[in-house]
């Protein structure tokens, strides 16, 4: 074992950890907004799938990657509107409507893929952009500062999300409708509107998560491309205690195990690959068991709001 864990491998593991964390960050930060406002959106994976397909289709046919991202965001927005209409306006059970949204995204993306593309093709996705100076730092430079733009975007999102939630009036409103919607309502805050906004913002980010996968990470689309990453993202929100920094910690933990698992296969460590692929998911379950922190959970999570009921 000693000779395989070289500095090069370590660098490789860390570089792919950063890359692999990208879709989780978009999706989980988005879900943090939705859940902070009191809505659990379990449809994240479905949104990611349909958006990943949409972005890939546009990139394949136009070669315009920015148009691809825009398409993904638009698909996310539409699915977010659907989710909020069902769970906020119609007050349906959020878990069930989320699963419905997932099934829809999974089936629809497969169907459209078969009709419009058919076989697995690749595109020229976002290329790494080495940041001048920072990228030249020996050791960590190439690990941190030699990635594609969607990767940088994901990491920029973390402080922005924290800033919005903690420092702005909007963030205070989002937190209050998730903790005590009746209180927010009594102060003239439109609970439904804030929840619509938060769910849709989360869905747009889930759309970007899907696009980052198909246009920046693997540069292809296939059936069930996400393999449940959207569900892991939902779990990461709990793991991170509804705090963007905590969510980032969780994304790192998950993606480093994922990246170690990939490298073990590359350098030929003898474990069945199925077991290796399972590792990150097992880790998620274990991590959730240890870190459940109900005190910080939005008190009105999963509860539709109706005025006059207390």
């Amino acid at each position: 074992m000693k000779d395989v864990i070289s500095l090069g491998v370590l660098g490789g593991i860390l570089t792919s950890m950063i890359r692999l964390a990208t879709p989780f960050l978009y999706a989980a930060i988005g879900e943090t907004f939705a859940q902070t406002s009191g809505v659990v959106n379990l449809g994240v994976d479905g949104i990611m799938l349909l958006s990943a397909y949409g972005a890939f289709y546009v990139a394949l046919n136009t070669g315009n990657l920015w148009l691809a991202l825009l398409t993904a965001a638009a698909i996310g927005l539409l699915m977010g509107l659907l989710m909020s209409f069902i769970s906020v306006t119609l007050k349906a059970e959020q878990g069930i409507s989320g699963i419905g949204l997932y099934m829809f995204g999974l089936g629809m993306s497969s169907l459209l893929f078969k009709i419009t593309i058919g076989t697995v093709k690749t595109i020229d996705g976002f290329q790494p952009v080495r940041i001048p100076l920072l990228g030249d730092i020996p050791g960590i430079g190439p690990i941190l500062f030699d990635h594609s733009l969607p990767v940088y975007g994901a990491f920029l999102l973390v402080p922005i999300a924290w800033w919005v939630l903690d420092k702005t009036t909007l963030g205070l409103k989002i937190k209050s409708v998730g903790q005590n919607p009746a209180a927010a309502d009594s102060l003239g805050i439109n609970v439904d509107r804030i929840r619509y906004f938060s769910v849709c913002l989360g869905a747009v980010l889930a759309g970007l998560a899907g696009a980052s996968l198909s246009t920046a990470l693997v540069d292809l689309f296939q059936d069930n491309l996400t393999a449940g990453q959207g569900f892991i993202a939902v779990a990461l929100v709990y793991f991170g205690g509804w705090n963007p920094w905590g969510v980032m910690g969780g994304a790192f933990l998950f993606s480093i195990v994922n990246s170690i698992q990939l490298w073990m296969q590359v350098i030929g460590v003898k474990i069945p690959s199925d077991v290796a692929v399972m590792l990150p998911y097992l880790l998620t379950i274990a991590a959730l068991m240890i870190t459940v922190n109900r005190v910080r959970q939005p008190a009105a999570l999963n509860k539709p709001f109706e005025r006059g009921e207390s």
């Binding site: 420092k167 702005t168 009036t169 909007l170 205070l172 409103k173 937190k175 209050s176 903790q179 005590n180 009746a182 209180a183 927010a184 309502d185 009594s186 102060l187 003239g188 805050i189 005190v295 910080r296 008190a299 005025r307 006059g308 207390s310």
Partner: protein, 518 residues
């Protein structure tokens, strides 16, 4: 600074009128042609039993509901409030019975919530904090702007609510049962604040069903019954007796004085400790002995360990130390079922959560526990005819008002649900009964009935622990009164031995020695 205050005073609302308000809910006429008015510098009490339509009326003034008929007129101009935002803009504030605060946020954040910041989209919490401190001084409202709301006592949370209304420039403030959860000392402080507000030209609506408070604080009083106005009187021209008659429509019976001597100790609690929901110790060693045929009243401000004690005795919360015994048998480690078999009965504080199942029928709720025993079973089958006949007996005996045995429990009134729970628990002829807040949210008629039942059970030799925040209830029913403060028993006094003030002092943590002699 003097003229400035004058300016503000003249900008305040001078006269709010609600004219011929009608509000219907499915199957209920909540307000029927109700007219009500408040003037600047006045405290107008709105008195009535639960369900008389007081809160409904005020919720319409605050924009939470819209009246079906009638109009709201402020200083001669008609207004329509589609939401609380409209009402707030017109200068109306409301302090709800269940506080409308976000516990995970600080006081300042709660006050700033929903307001335009001076540097949108960023928050301007420093500015808000400074204004809170200013108002705090002006009105004698002690609040720490940086504290998290979950850290505050109930009295402090109420001050935050008042602060929220004042901060928003409310002229007229509606207080919905503001004293329900306060200690006598906190009530005094609240009343001082209210008087100060009135002097500053605010108008206040004081919703209550407590007569002595209404007599104490209000200038005028309007009595509501069954959604109708029974009358409006200047407070100094009306007596307590007249008000009771207006509220209830008849005279009330006071509980009889005592005769029976309590028997041997039936429920013994020794050094009981347990942990609360937040993981900190909630009971620090409780010692109590309740005799057969005795009612021991447990007085205290809510959140001092009463709920944990009740749950610990009923077996819903684990004791971390100490011992509980019924008669000679130690039940500390017993399961709920074993406790019930040993003669323990429990009327839980959260009756809809811990005491009954909303969707189940009246009959099913009566059998929640006893369905698996003879004579209600044939082998593994239920004997429905036996069950029905027993259920009918109980419904009749306890004067339960229900359309049928099959009616879902959620369609019954609070008082009738409580009667059902009592019927179920008492029909087992328990040796010990834990009655937690048995009359909270129950109307006066049912309250009276529940009191009679508790006294009858006392005569029958049950040891009763009565946990209540209503000092009048505790004083009229109990043989002895124990006072709990921060998870400890501060003192135990005999019936009639201590005044309300002395009990109130102990509820605020003053030692028995000091409270009784200091």
């Amino acid at each position: 600074m003097k003229p400035k205050i004058q300016d503000i005073k003249s900008q305040r609302i001078q006269h709010v009128e609600m004219r011929d308000i009608v509000k219907r809910f499915p199957g209920v006429l909540a307000n029927s042609k109700v007219s009500f008015d408040v003037r600047a510098g006045e405290i107008h009490a709105l008195l009535g039993e639960n369900g008389a339509g007081k809160s409904t009326l005020m919720r319409q003034l605050y924009g939470l509901y819209q009246p079906d008929e009638g109009e709201i007129v402020i200083d001669g101009k008609p207004y329509v409030f589609r939401s609380p935002a409209d009402a707030i803009r017109a200068g109306i504030g409301m302090i709800h019975q269940h506080f409308m605060l976000v516990p995970t946020l600080t006081v300042t954040q709660n006050v700033a919530l929903g307001l335009r910041s001076s540097r949108e989209p960023l928050l301007d919490l420093d500015k808000v904090t400074r204004r809170i401190q200013g108002l705090s001084e002006a009105y004698g409202l002690k609040v720490d702007p940086h504290a998290f709301v979950w850290q505050l006592s109930v009295g402090e949370q109420q001050r935050v609510e008042i602060m929220k209304a004042l901060y928003r420039g409310a002229s007229l403030i509606i207080l919905d049962e503001p004293t329900a959860v306060l200690t006598p000392q906190e009530v005094k402080d609240l009343f001082a604040t209210l008087r100060r507000m009135v002097q500053e030209g605010h108008s206040l609506v004081f919703i209550s069903h407590k007569l002595h408070e209404v007599m104490d604080i209000s200038d005028r009083v309007t009595v509501l019954r069954d959604g109708k106005v029974i009358g409006t009187r200047p407070t100094h021209k009306v007596t307590r007796g007249e008000l009771v008659k207006m509220m209830v429509g008849r005279e009330l019976k006071e509980p009889e004085p005592r005769s029976l001597k309590p028997g041997p100790a039936a429920l013994k609690i020794e050094g009981l400790k347990t942990v609360g929901d937040r993981g900190t110790e909630a009971l620090h060693g409780i010692y109590l002995e309740i005799h057969s045929g005795e009612i021991l009243g447990l007085a205290g401000v809510s959140g001092n360990g009463q709920r944990e004690l009740a749950e610990c005795l009923a077996g819903m919360r684990k004791a971390t130390a100490g011992r509980i015994a019924i008669g000679e048998s130690d039940i500390t480690t017993f399961t709920l079922n074993q406790r019930i078999d040993s003669g323990m009965a429990y009327i839980p504080e959260e009756r809809m959560r811990d005491g009954a199942i909303r969707e189940f029928s009246v009959e099913e709720n009566i059998y929640l526990h006893d369905h698996s025993f003879a004579p209600y079973t044939h082998g593994i089958f239920l004997d429905f005819s036996q069950m029905a006949s027993h259920a009918i007996d109980l419904v009749n005996e306890y004067a339960l008002k229900t359309p049928s045995l099959d009616t879902p429990l959620k369609n019954l009134s609070g008082g009738n649900i409580q009667k059902l729970i009592m019927a179920r628990e008492l029909s087992r002829h328990p040796k010990a009964l834990i009655a937690a807040q048995p009359t909270r949210g129950v109307d006066i008629g049912a309250t009276e009935y529940i009191h009679q039942r508790l006294l009858a059970q006392r005569e029958a030799g049950t040891a009763i622990l009565l946990i209540s925040e209503d000092l009048d209830e505790i004083r009229t029913l109990s043989d002895r009164i124990a006072i709990i403060y921060e998870g400890r028993i501060v003192g135990v006094v005999q019936r009639g031995q201590a005044t309300i003030e002395q009990i109130g002092l102990m509820m605020a943590g003053v030692s028995m020695k000091e409270a009784m002699h200091g």
